[in-house]
Symmetry: C2
């Protein structure tokens, strides 16, 4: 029995189906239910175009067959992904910095908020402008938008990227140059609050500890500077020290504090982890916090309340930040644009500044 040559020959189905994945397809469900694929699709997606009786029957069958629709195919058909990519643009090689509890909290917040909108979260370390890894998932059509958690040194890159690809929201320091959406804490104000608090406690020689090449930190520094000059105190360059985020490196950077002492009586640390490192370094030299030196940190990490001395800090509500970022993203996805937003910060006074001696 030879088939006519124009008739397509039966081809053995490629055996590609992943072992654990949904074994059934809509097609099979349709066959089982004795209806067309379209009806199954509509039944499952709650379309009013299908009779209630039919829907129930199909639902039952689908359930029994342990079926769940293939989102990949569904999204392709719908021209969406229901996924947002979250990028941590940090130095390649080490993700250690992420240890900073800030990142987790942010990630948790983003995950929660996006889940509310039924969006998935795709995590990436490689940045889109990374030479070696050509594309981020967003560009590969695997995400509807991108969130940059922190702009770090990549501010210009992010700006360019955002300009080309729309649908970008970044956490960090807003900047007139951007026309993309940036959500961030009011770092300037936070820096000022911290510094003013130290000044109010009678401290005069305040060390600034942080990497000012990072825009967020630069802003915190700006606040510091403002407060100092408002108090009529000239900033002493010797007291402005570079300290990286990574706690190990920060600890090493803080070693020089010993030599400086007693040239200063307070520290404003650009992050809580840095504050922790500084306290440890001072302790090594026999310098006591807050007796000899007052310290204020920045971030409000949970552990800050439980260390000794407990950390006075400028708290940024990461939870809130995540919520706002997602809000902006949704707006962006819907309307095509979203304005930047600055989030308020608050000073949490605990022991390390010396205001509360317990």
């Amino acid at each position: 029995m030879s088939q006519s040559p124009t008739e397509p020959k039966e081809r053995p189905a490629r055996e590609t189906r992943a072992a654990g994945a949904s074994l059934t397809t809509m097609n099979e469900i349709a066959r089982m239910a004795g209806v067309s694929e379209s009806t199954v699709s509509r039944a499952l997606s709650g379309s009013p175009l299908v009779a209630e009786k039919t829907r129930e029957r199909i639902l039952k069958i689908a359930q029994a067959a342990n079926f769940s629709v293939n989102q990949q195919a569904r999204n392709l058909a719908l021209g969406q992904t229901r996924t947002v990519e979250v990028i941590f643009p940090i130095e390649p090689g080490t993700l250690q910095q992420v240890s900073d509890p800030f990142f987790v909290d942010m990630l948790a917040a983003l995950t929660d908020e996006l889940a509310k909108h039924e969006y998935d979260v795709l995590i990436t370390k490689s940045t889109p402008w990374d030479e070696n890894r050509p594309g981020c998932a967003f560009l590969g059509g695997r995400a509807d938008g991108v969130v940059f958690v922190g702009q770090g040194r990549h501010r210009a890159d992010i700006r360019d990227f955002a300009r080309a690809q729309k649908r970008v929201v970044a956490w960090g320091a807003a900047d007139e140059g951007n026309d993309h959406c940036v959500v961030g804490s009011d770092n300037i104000r936070g820096g000022r609050m911290a510094t003013e608090h130290l000044l109010k406690l009678g401290r005069k020689s305040i060390v600034f500890l942080g990497d000012r090449t990072l825009p967020e930190i630069a802003q915190r520094y700006a606040g510091y500077e403002t407060a100092m000059s408002a108090a009529g105190i000239a900033v002493n360059d010797k007291l402005v020290l570079n300290a990286p985020f990574d706690i190990e490196k920060a600890r090493r950077a803080c070693e020089q504090l010993g030599d400086l002492f007693p040239g200063f009586d307070a520290i404003f640390a650009a992050s809580d982890m840095i504050a922790l490192a500084a306290i440890a370094a001072l302790r090594d030299k026999g310098i006591t916090v807050p007796k000899d030196v007052s310290i204020v940190g920045f971030d409000g990490i949970p552990a800050g309340a439980h260390v000794n001395p407990s950390l006075t800090t400028v708290n940024q509500s990461v939870r809130r930040g995540g919520a706002v970022i997602v809000e902006k993203m949704m707006q962006l996805l819907k309307t095509g644009e979203a304005p930047s937003e600055l989030l308020p910060v608050e000073l949490i006074v605990r022991q390390s500044c010396g205001a509360n001696q317990t």
Copy 2:
């Protein structure tokens, strides 16, 4: 000019293309290059079936058009996703617990390792057996496999899930009952090491602090028990205290320690965060660590080295754990099975146990 009715009518293309997404399709590139879609596909994927000259031409055009292939479509065609879902099966509502630096480090490790294999990472909070959120992405065909970071109270659920869906790797306490792949630290050994260390320092009344309903913690407790009875000391039930992971709650749980004192002279805390909370709680009562009470924690969080007193702890290499998990997952994806593995732990002696008085 009327069209014949059998001829499909021109239909306006649905305008679904996301604004920022790859604007071009292979089709367009093909047209630009004057070749067929297949040739473009082959050219871009490095097939040897295409002439080098043609490939270069196409590559150039694609580059100029800022084209990148739509992974969603590609993966659909290939019957894969190149994505692994990472689930944190923690109590719904709060992801706060994730603040525990352990989770971030783990996530970082997983992301890094999976990236090496060119896999993406999808984060989920909702578990597959969650009533309200019917399916995890894996079941929706959006991932090739699932990693559970911690089994928590869901051990049975995870076991069932793993049995039904293959391609599951879990971090946590291995168990004879499982036939799925579990990677975890040697918690029993770690618990024993910590306890033995305290005993060696001459401590006798050792508090165990942790939630033994969690299998990982139960194992750490088992190690504690073993060490105690090996030393000929009966475990005093009054000294076994329930403390949750969350640092705030742990702190509250630790408040009762004050009343117990001086009924004990050491603490083995099931996690570093709990240890931190305990130290803070003791300090409130005027009890000093390590003078009055020795403490050993578990995890090896980075900040542990920099707090006061610095934490003696059982360190588990999360980095290593992540690498092994991914290794297992790859094996699972390839061969369909992978054996469980137990990872070694090490004791890091610092100040909180009193062995090192600086």
